[in-house]
């Protein structure tokens, strides 16, 4: 076992072990629990960065242990260019979520459990991305769900949290079961669990492709929360404590995209996948328009941004459905940019709630005079999600939009572009009502903790930087293409 292998296992293990440590001994170390979790998230990010030179040299770092050799089951991890953008997103979002939580979560006799579960949640996502066999993938996939469910159940913000958690768990678990059925079908046909062997197995049984592909798309569609599988998202995002919401919206939603890219899109050729293209594009456009429409009429500010995620996932699904160079690279870039911007928007929402104690958009107003720093961050986040140039999302949106015109479905592509005016509409309503219109009923502003401000401002800077300098990220993401749809580009 070389150093690279140890580091790769450590990306996950450091979080899992810390999580266990905090669960067992967290009570006795008290307020140090949050600093330990922050240190762990930074360490994990640092460990992840170690792989960049290897990837740039064309290597694919991997670790394999035999687990159940007779059944062909291995403990196998791998990092390639396809996993890279998603792992980057998860690691970054975890850091921001923990920074945000430092002052957001009160230090009490339960707080160590909160951080332990947050790390477990993050480990679930990292494990899912690094896994190179279906059993490990499913294990971490479910770990992610369990950890997040417990977080919502115990730290939910209202009395409805039990119902919300039940809904979240059951619906996303149903999605996971669809993925599981697809995995079992693949396993029974191929007898192997390794990702690289799945492709050959599927090619040997082409008649199974429509069913397996549909199961994957439906299962991962639930995780992406595209319409009509989005029903869990607004409630869960609005109910979860803000750091968990940031993790859910900015990182966990991208797991659905990763699943689609990793399984149906990597295992099938462009020709075989083409049967799913049009449905994906249609669902993408519907999600974009529907999510934005709901955000336009919703009153709870946290739910408005939650619906915005439904809309943004529509862009991503549409981009993937086009099966074009621009569409796939654009969708992957959109995952990263969306994570940054959505984390920023939720940070701003948390800031508003912490400062005012209000969540109803009708009860808010005139915040630009009361908190100029928050206004700048929120306006930049809003402009970014509207697709204004030189801010993060513009770069990916441009590619997704252009990809639609490289397909025969020009009408759908036009609808996709024109439908995005609704994004402008709901963001304008949001910013206008909260910041720039006067409120008859005066309300006071509470002091907001430093950690919330730090996370928000850092994300704002990241939004601008990512928008101004798109090249580095693009050059990394574009390397995933040879792994997708037979690499015929």
């Amino acid at each position: 076992m070389n150093t690279q292998n140890i580091i790769m296992v450590s990306v996950i293990l450091v979080k899992l072990l810390s999580s266990g440590f905090l669960l067992l001994f967290g009570k006795s170390i008290g307020r140090f629990a949050k600093w330990i979790s922050l240190l762990v998230s930074f360490s994990s990010f640092g460990l992840f960065l170690v792989f960049i030179p290897a990837l740039q040299n064309g290597e694919i770092p991997s670790v394999v242990f035999d687990y159940l050799p007779t059944m062909g089951i291995q403990f196998s991890l791998k990092i390639d260019w396809l996993a890279f953008p998603f792992l980057l997103t998860e690691e970054l979002v975890t850091i921001f979520a923990i920074v945000y939580a430092l002052d957001y979560v009160k230090t009490d006799d339960r707080s160590h459990t909160f951080y332990a579960l947050l790390l477990m949640f993050s480990a679930g996502m990292s494990g899912t991305t690094l896994a190179n066999d279906i059993f490990l993938f499913y294990f971490f996939w479910e770990l992610m769900l369990i950890a997040s469910s417990i977080l919502v159940l115990n730290w939910g913000e209202s009395e409805k949290r039990n119902g919300v958690t039940l809904k979240y768990f059951i619906i996303t678990h149903l999605g996971s079961l669809l993925v599981l059925v697809a995995f079992i079908m693949i396993y029974t046909q191929t007898g192997v669990d390794n990702f690289s062997a799945i492709k050959a197995g599927l090619q040997a049984n082409p008649e199974q492709i429509p069913l397996i592909g549909s199961l994957f798309l439906l299962g991962f569609g639930v995780k992406m929360a595209v319409v009509p599988f989005h029903i869990w998202l607004p409630d869960t995002h609005s109910e979860a404590p803000m750091p968990v919401t940031i993790m859910l919206a900015a990182a966990m939603l991208s797991m659905g995209t990763y699943g689609i890219l990793r399984f149906p899109m990597s295992s099938l050729s462009a020709m075989q996948f083409s049967m799913f293209a049009l449905p994906m594009m249609i669902v993408g456009v519907v999600s974009e328009i529907y999510g934005a429409s709901m955000a336009l009429v919703e009153k709870d500010i946290k739910r408005i941004i939650a619906y915005s995620s439904v809309s943004q996932m529509g862009y991503i699904l549409y981009g993937l459905g086009t099966q074009t160079y621009s569409g796939i690279v654009g969708a992957t870039l959109h995952v990263i940019y969306h994570a940054i911007v959505k984390a920023l928007l939720f940070c701003c929402v948390g800031w508003i709630i912490k400062a005012t104690g209000k969540r109803d958009i009708q009860a808010l107003g005139g915040m630009h005079k009361k908190d100029p720093l928050l206004t700048v961050c929120m306006v930049l986040g809003g402009l970014s999600i509207m697709g204004v140039p030189a801010l993060a999302i513009f770069n990916s949106e441009w590619m997704i939009f252009s990809s639609g015109f490289q397909t025969p479905y020009t009408g759908l592509a036009m609808l996709e572009i024109l439908g995005s005016i609704l994004t402008t509409a709901y963001i304008l309503r949001f910013i206008g009502k909260i910041f720039f219109t006067s409120q008859d009923e005066e309300f006071s502003i509470q002091k907001v903790p430093f950690s919330i401000k730090l996370a928000t401002v850092s994300l704002t800077i990241l939004t601008i930087t990512a928008g101004l300098f798109p090249k580095p990220l693009f050059n990394y993401v574009v390397n995933e293409l040879p792994l997708i749809l037979g690499g015929q580009w």
């Binding site: 039940l166 029903i231 020009t410 572009i417």
Partner: protein, 629 residues
């Protein structure tokens, strides 16, 4: 090399000064006026130097977005001429800052300078992404200026919202056109795309042309895409003039100029858009008359003059169109600057030299007249449309003339004959002044077209062979005269009459509900009823599907679970498990009661089970004893 780099200074100078204004909040009014004026002069000179001393158009490329390839700017003579004119316009606009009571902020000045730099970038860009980004930033500068107005927060924000939505619509249409062209050509280069667009299928060409014209519509503020102009009301006058009358229209017209080959290839579409534009002016005219809205006569004339360029663009003679664009911009600038200069004095006050005002008005009419004459001469439009164009031109001209007589009639202490005599004198003086201005402009346009296009264009040459065109113009006069009186002097009666006519239709109209019960305050405000319709649909969906979905889902689950529990409980109830366990324990006890050795046997099996479990966990090779499939 130095000359080439002077081209880039065109963009760098205003941005640098804009940054100074933005970050240092310059409050001295004189400095605020002088520095931008200085920059506009500097830009003017650097453009002149570039045009006259550069042997070949300077071009520069850079890379920003990897998927868009290299972006370039080419400083060709045609856009540079426009840049000279825009710089002159900026100079005059800035000089008028101090004349008005409404004070502009340092940020607004900085945004004005940024908008100038971005507009210049848009004009010289030969890459669609660069042009799109530049146009977006111009739009953001407008929005920022309105947001910085010291007005009531809510109304200010409503203005910002309307401007952004209006611009966004134009931008999205532009994107559709760009991507359709790019899908065909594989590049974002503007020249290549526009050349190859002619090879596209007819429906695609129609979509591209329509989308590009939608952008032109927005920039020229033609109904129904003109919300943004009304929303600029909170800006200081000179900024409003800069954005609404000069900068954005010139960007729109430049786009029209570039789109003209496509329009020429789709004559039916071009005719449709001319009719649409004509209807837009008519609706504006009727709305302003019937609703007693304060839509100034000047604004209508400006819109109409812009519309006159659309049929010219469809003629396919780009050099001629270019010459007319120059004429249009000079006439428009002169008119806008004059109205800006006297905006705060009453329309016919002695402080306002009436002859100059009317001369600038007639100057603009002269442009429209020449443009319409060319259109009529080309026989490109159906006669009915041509006559309609001429009717509107006459209506607006008669109204302008009538203003002179209204002004003179208001003078007290003079006889009827004296008043009319004065009016005639004023008319003659204004017309003569307008004629002189038009002649000079025609000469300037000739020289500029000679220098930029290599061939001088006399836009008045049409008079030589235009007897039939002049007849068409004359045909328009009679209906115009018959419409003028009821339209302009008995607007209320006509409105009531038309109201009675359309009432039966309106009652049956499904939109009536929205007009009566929805959020629509003004049925003529298309933005209001469109958004109201959409919001009603979205609210319906939200209330029926999305709202309280957690409760709905939980109650569904509750029903399912209670059904399952009630039905299956009988089989797997607690009692069943307890009874089973009890039976096993009882039988085990009975077994032990038979012989004590049986107790040890039970313990043995239990121990064996644990050992197997441990072995399985720590050593998977145990599975070798079970042959796998």
């Amino acid at each position: 090399m130095m000359i080439d780099s002077s081209s880039l200074l065109l963009i760098i100078f205003p941005i640098l000064l804009g940054c100074v204004f933005f970050f240092f909040q310059i409050s001295r009014r004189k400095t605020r006026k002088l520095l931008p004026a200085l920059i506009s002069i500097l830009c003017f000179y650097s453009t002149v130097i570039t045009i006259f001393f550069s042997k070949a158009p300077f071009s520069t490329t850079f890379s920003w977005h990897p998927a868009a390839g290299n972006m370039g700017m080419t400083f060709e003579r045609s856009p540079l001429v426009l840049i000279i004119l825009i710089s002159i316009a900026l100079f005059f606009v800035v000089l008028h800052d101090h004349r008005h009571p409404q004070v502009s902020s340092s940020i607004q000045i900085s945004l004005m300078l940024f908008s100038y730099a971005f507009a210049l970038t848009a004009l010289v860009a030969d890459h669609f992404m660069l042009r799109f980004v530049a146009l977006e930033f111009v739009g953001l500068c407008v929005v920022g200026s309105v947001l910085d107005s010291p007005h009531n927060g809510t109304s200010n924000w409503n203005n910002v919202r309307n401007i952004l939505l209006n611009f966004k619509f134009g931008d999205l249409c532009f994107l559709v056109a760009i991507f359709l062209m790019q899908a065909n050509s594989g590049t974002f280069n503007i020249n290549q795309n526009l050349e190859l667009a002619a090879e596209l299928s007819q429906p695609n060409q129609a979509i591209i042309t329509s989308c590009l014209l939608a952008v032109v519509w927005v920039k020229l503020s033609i109904w129904p895409l003109d919300w943004w102009v009304k929303a600029l009301s909170s800006l200081p006058s000179f900024l409003r003039t800069w954005y609404a009358d000069l900068l954005l229209p010139v960007l729109g017209v430049y786009l029209l100029y570039r789109t003209s080959p496509l329009l020429n290839a789709n004559t039916n579409l071009a005719t449709f858009f001319v009719i649409l534009a004509l209807s837009a002016v008519l609706i504006k005219l009727l709305v302003s008359k019937f609703n007693n809205r304060s839509l100034p006569h000047q604004q209508l004339i400006q819109i109409f003059s812009s519309i006159c360029l659309i049929p010219l663009a469809a003629l396919g003679m780009q050099s001629l169109l270019w010459a007319f664009v120059i004429f249009w911009f000079i006439a428009r600038t002169a008119f806008s600057i004059y109205t800006l200069r006297h905006e705060h004095s009453p329309p016919f006050s002695p402080a306002r030299p009436a002859s100059l005002y009317f001369a600038s008005l007639f100057f603009l009419h002269a442009f429209s007249f020449l443009a319409l004459l060319h259109t009529t001469h080309s026989n490109f439009l159906p006669n009915l449309v041509l006559i309609a164009l001429w009717i509107i031109w006459w209506l607006l001209s008669i109204q302008s003339l009538n203003q002179i007589f209204v002004k003179e009639r208001n003078l007290a202490g003079e006889t009827f004959l004296e008043k009319n005599k004065k009016a005639l004198e004023l008319t003659t003086a204004s017309l003569l002044l307008a004629l002189v201005a038009a002649c000079i402009t025609v000469l300037v346009v000739y020289l500029l077209s000679l220098y930029t296009k290599g061939k001088g264009i006399w836009i008045t040459a049409i008079f030589i062979d235009s007897s039939s065109s002049l007849t068409s113009a004359a045909y328009g006069l009679i209906p115009a005269l018959s419409l003028y009186y009821p339209l302009f002097h008995h607007a209320e009666k006509v409105r009531n009459y038309l109201g009675r006519l359309v009432r039966p239709i309106r009652v049956k109209n499904p939109l009536v509900w929205f007009f009566r019960n929805g959020q629509i305050k003004d049925p003529l405000n298309q933005f209001s009823w469109l958004s109201s319709l959409f919001m009603s649909a979205a609210s319906f969906l939200y209330k029926t599907i999305e709202q309280n979905s957690v409760d709905k889902i939980v109650s569904i689950f509750q029903k399912i679970f209670s059904f399952l529990f009630n039905q299956i409980e009988k089989l797997i109830s607690k009692e069943l498990w307890e009874n089973t366990l009890k039976t096993i324990v009882d039988s085990s006890r009975k077994l032990q009661a038979l012989h004590p050795g049986f107790l040890r046997l039970n313990q043995f099996w239990f121990l064996l089970f644990i050992i197997i479990l441990v072995l399985v966990i720590f050593n998977q090779s145990i599975f070798y004893i079970f042959p796998s499939g």
